[in-house]
C-alpha cells in the first residue's frame, strides 16, 4: 500500500528534471578540427612515404655506383650524394628508421611516465616519495648530454637501441604532470566509490583513473615522438646515431661531413631537414587539436566572440529599423 503511495509521490516524469535531462542529454558535438585535418594529412603522407617509398625507389640506398652530386633530375628524383647514393632511396629508408625510433621511444617514455607518475600519485606515502625521488633525479640530469654519454659508451648502436636510450632519458617531465593529475584524481568521489565497491588498486588505476588521463597521455606520446625524432637527428648529426642504418639524422650528418653546404648541394640537406620539420609540425598540430578537445574553452572562445559580434550587429540594425518604424508611426 504505502509502496504505491510513495512511488506515486516520486513521479518519474518530474517535469523540471526531465527538461534538464533533455538539455544535458545533447551530446557535445566535436566539430572536426582544421588543425587536426592538416596535421593528420601531413603525418599520413609521411607514413605512406615511409611504407611505400623504399618499394618505389629504383636504387639501393647503399649503391654508390651513381654519378656523384647530381642535382635532382628524372633518374635521381632527389639527386645524389658525394658518395653517389641516391637521395630518394636514402630519404625513404631513413623515414622508416626515424619514425620507428620516434614511436618506440615515445611508447617507452609514456610507459615509464605512467609507471612512475601515476603510481606515485595514486599510492602516495613512502612509495610516492621514492618514485618522486627517481623522477626528480631523471629530471635534473640534462637529457642530451646523458644520451650522448650513453650512446658513446655503447659500440654498434642499432636504431632500436637509440630509441630505447631516447625513451629512458625523456619521460621524467611527463611523469611529473601525470603524478599531480593522479593525485587530484585519486581524491575524486568516483575513485572513492570504486574503492568502496571493492575494486582492487590496479583496477582502480587501470579502469577508473587511466581512461581519464587518456587525452593527456596522447599529448605526451606525441610530444615524446617529436622529442625522439629530433633527438635521433641530433645524435646522428653528432655522429652518435644508429651505426650502420640510415635515418634522416645520419643523412644530415653525412651532408655536413661531405661539405654539402660549401659545395652548394642543397638537395642533400634540405629534404631531410624539411622531413624532420614536417613530422614535428604535424604531430604538434594534432597535439593542439587534442588540447582543444580536452579544453573546450580553447576551441569555443574565438567562435563565440565572433557569434556575439554578429548578433550585436544584427541587434543594432534591428533597433535602427524599429526606431525608423516608430518615427514613421508617430508621423502618421
Amino acid at each position: 500500500m504505502s509502496d504505491v503511495a510513495t512511488t506515486t509521490s516520486v513521479p518519474p516524469a518530474d517535469p523540471a528534471e526531465v527538461d534538464k535531462g533533455k538539455d544535458e542529454t545533447r551530446r557535445v558535438r566535436r566539430p572536426v578540427n582544421g588543425k587536426f585535418i592538416i596535421g593528420a594529412t601531413m603525418l599520413s603522407l609521411i607514413v605512406l612515404f615511409a611504407i611505400f617509398g623504399p618499394i618505389i625507389a629504383e636504387f639501393d640506398p647503399r649503391n654508390s655506383n651513381n654519378p656523384v652530386l647530381v642535382p635532382p633530375d628524372s633518374t635521381h628524383w632527389l639527386g645524389t650524394t658525394s658518395l653517389g647514393y641516391d637521395m630518394f632511396s636514402q630519404m625513404a629508408t631513413g623515414a622508416r628508421t626515424s619514425l620507428m625510433v620516434g614511436i618506440v621511444a615515445g611508447l617507452i617514455a609514456v610507459t615509464l611516465s605512467i609507471l612512475f607518475g601515476v603510481i606515485a600519485g595514486y599510492v602516495g606515502g613512502l612509495t610516492d616519495e621514492i618514485l618522486t625521488l627517481v623522477i626528480g633525479v631523471m629530471l635534473v640530469i640534462p637529457g642530451l648530454p646523458l644520451t650522448i654519454v650513453i650512446s658513446s659508451l655503447v659500440p654498434g648502436r642499432s636504431g632500436l637501441l637509440v630509441a630505447v636510450i631516447l625513451g629512458i632519458t625523456g619521460w621524467a617531465g611527463a611523469a611529473v604532470v601525470l603524478r599531480s593529475q593522479a593525485q587530484s584524481l585519486r581524491n575524486r568521489d568516483y575513485v572513492s566509490a570504486s574503492r568502496i565497491a571493492g575494486e582492487k588498486p590496479l583496477r582502480v588505476i587501470g579502469v577508473e583513473i587511466l581512461p581519464n588521463l587518456l587525452p593527456l597521455l596522447t599529448g605526451q606520446f606525441l610530444f615524446g615522438v617529436i622529442f625522439a625524432i629530433l633527438g635521433e637527428a641530433g645524435l646522428s648529426y653528432l655522429g652518435l646515431g644508429p651505426t650502420g642504418s640510415i635515418s634522416w639524422g645520419t643523412i644530415l650528418n653525412e651532408a655536413q661531413a661531405g661539405g654539402a653546404l660549401t659545395r652548394g648541394a642543397w638537395w642533400w640537406f634540405v629534404p631531410p631537414g624539411i622531413a624532420v620539420a614536417l613530422v614535428g609540425c604535424s604531430l604538434a598540430l594534432i597535439n593542439f587539436a587534442i588540447d582543444e578537445v580536452i579544453n573546450p574553452k580553447l576551441r569555443s572562445a574565438p567562435l563565440e566572440a565572433r557569434r556575439v559580434r554578429k548578433a550585436k550587429a544584427a541587434a543594432r540594425a534591428q533597433k535602427r529599423a524599429d526606431r525608423a518604424a516608430k518615427r514613421q508611426e508617430a508621423k502618421a
Binding site: T7, V10, K20, G21, G198
Partner: protein, 290 residues
C-alpha cells in the same frame, strides 16, 4: 578469489548491526606539533530499518565519520564493528564488508566516472560481489536496478554516460549503485544538498522507500535540520568532533537541550519569521541611536 557464494550476509539480511564504538580520529596539523581531533569519542549503532541523522556544520567531523565507516580512513582509536565483530582491514573479508556497507556521495557530478557508461557503474559492484540472482544476467539486474530508482527507459539510460544525465538522475544512479551489492547499511553523505531544490524531496522519498523495502540501516549526514527531522528516527548533533546532543528526532528539534542545537535551529531559515529580522535590526538601531 575466495568468494564462493558462502558470503552469508543474505541470510541475516534483516538483523545485525553496524556499530561505531568510541571512535577517535586525529589528524596531524602540518608544520605544527599539534593534532586536530576531528572525531572525539563518538559511538552509535546503526540498526536495520532505522535512520540516524548526523547533523552539523562543515568541519564538525561528519564526513570523517563516513570515511571511517567505509574504511577509507583508519580511526586513531576505537573501532567499527559489524554484527559485533571488528571490521576486517583487508583482503576477502574486507570485500565481504564492502558488500554490506555502501555509500551515496554528496556530489553526483563527481561520484560517477565521466569516462564510463551508467551500466558500467552498476555492473562492477554486481560482478565484484557476485550479487546476481541465479538465472539472471548482469544486464538484466542492471536494468532492474535502474527501474527501482525510477530511471526509465532503463535500457536507454544504461547506455548513457554521466554527463548526459541531470543532477537528479545521476544521484539516482548513485543510489542504485549503492544498492547493487545487496547492501544492508547505507551511508548517505548530504545526498541532496547539491541538487536543485525542487527535486530534492523526490530523491529523499526514493531513499525512504528503498530503505523500507530493503530494511536498510541508514546514516543520513546533513546540515539541514528540517529534512533530518522528517527523514530520520534519531538525530545526533555534532559540533567540532563531539556529539553534543542526541535523541529521537522530534525531541531534538522541538525541545533542544544543548546551546549549540538551539543556535543551529535559530539560524535555520524559516519563512514563518517573515520580516522579523528586519524589525529586530530596526529596533536595535533606534535603541542605539537614541
Amino acid at each position: 578469489m575466495t568468494d564462493t557464494p558462502q558470503s552469508d550476509s543474505t541470510q541475516d539480511k534483516k538483523s545485525g548491526t553496524l556499530e561505531f564504538r568510541n571512535v577517535v580520529k586525529e589528524y596531524r596539523v602540518r608544520g605544527a606539533h599539534k593534532t586536530l581531533r576531528a572525531v572525539n569519542d563518538v559511538s552509535f549503532t546503526l540498526e536495520p530499518g532505522k535512520t540516524i541523522a548526523l547533523v552539523g556544520e562543515s568541519g564538525s567531523g561528519k564526513s570523517t565519520i563516513a570515511k571511517t565507516i567505509l574504511q577509507l580512513e583508519r580511526p586513531t582509536s576505537g573501532e567499527v564493528l559489524i554484527d559485533g565483530r571488528a571490521v576486517p582491514k583487508r583482503g576477502p573479508a574486507l570485500k565481504r564488508y564492502r558488500k554490506d556497507v555502501q555509500m551515496v556521495f554528496q556530489d553526483p557530478f563527481a561520484s560517477l566516472n565521466p569516462f564510463h557508461t551508467i551500466a558500467h557503474h552498476l555492473e562492477r559492484p554486481l560482478r565484484i560481489h557476485k550479487a546476481v540472482e541465479p538465472g539472471q544476467t548482469v544486464d538484466e539486474r542492471v536494468i532492474e536496478l535502474l527501474e527501482r530508482v525510477n530511471l526509465e527507459p532503463a535500457k536507454d539510460i544504461a547506455k548513457r554516460r554521466p554527463h548526459e544525465l541531470s543532477g537528479g538522475q545521476r544521484q539516482r544512479v548513485a543510489i542504485a549503485r549503492a544498492l547493487a551489492p545487496g547492501s544492508r547499511f547505507l551511508i548517505a553523505d548530504e545526498p541532496v544538498s547539491m541538487l536543485d531544490v525542487s527535486i530534492r524531496l523526490g530523491v529523499l522519498n526514493l531513499l525512504a522507500r528503498l530503505q523500507r523495502e530493503e530494511n536498510l540501516g541508514v546514516l543520513y549526514i546533513t546540515h539541514d535540520l528540517a529534512t533530518a527531522r522528517h527523514f530520520s528516527d534519531e538525530i545526533m548533533v555534532m559540533y567540532r568532533g563531539d556529539v553534543v546532543e542526541r535523541g529521537p528526532s522530534d525531541e531534538v528539534i522541538l525541545n533542544p537541550q544543548h546551546e549549540y542545537t538551539k543556535t543551529l535551529l535559530q539560524a535555520a531559515p524559516d519563512p514563518d519569521r517573515l520580516g522579523q529580522m528586519r524589525d529586530e535590526v530596526r529596533a536595535s538601531l533606534t535603541d542605539s541611536g537614541t
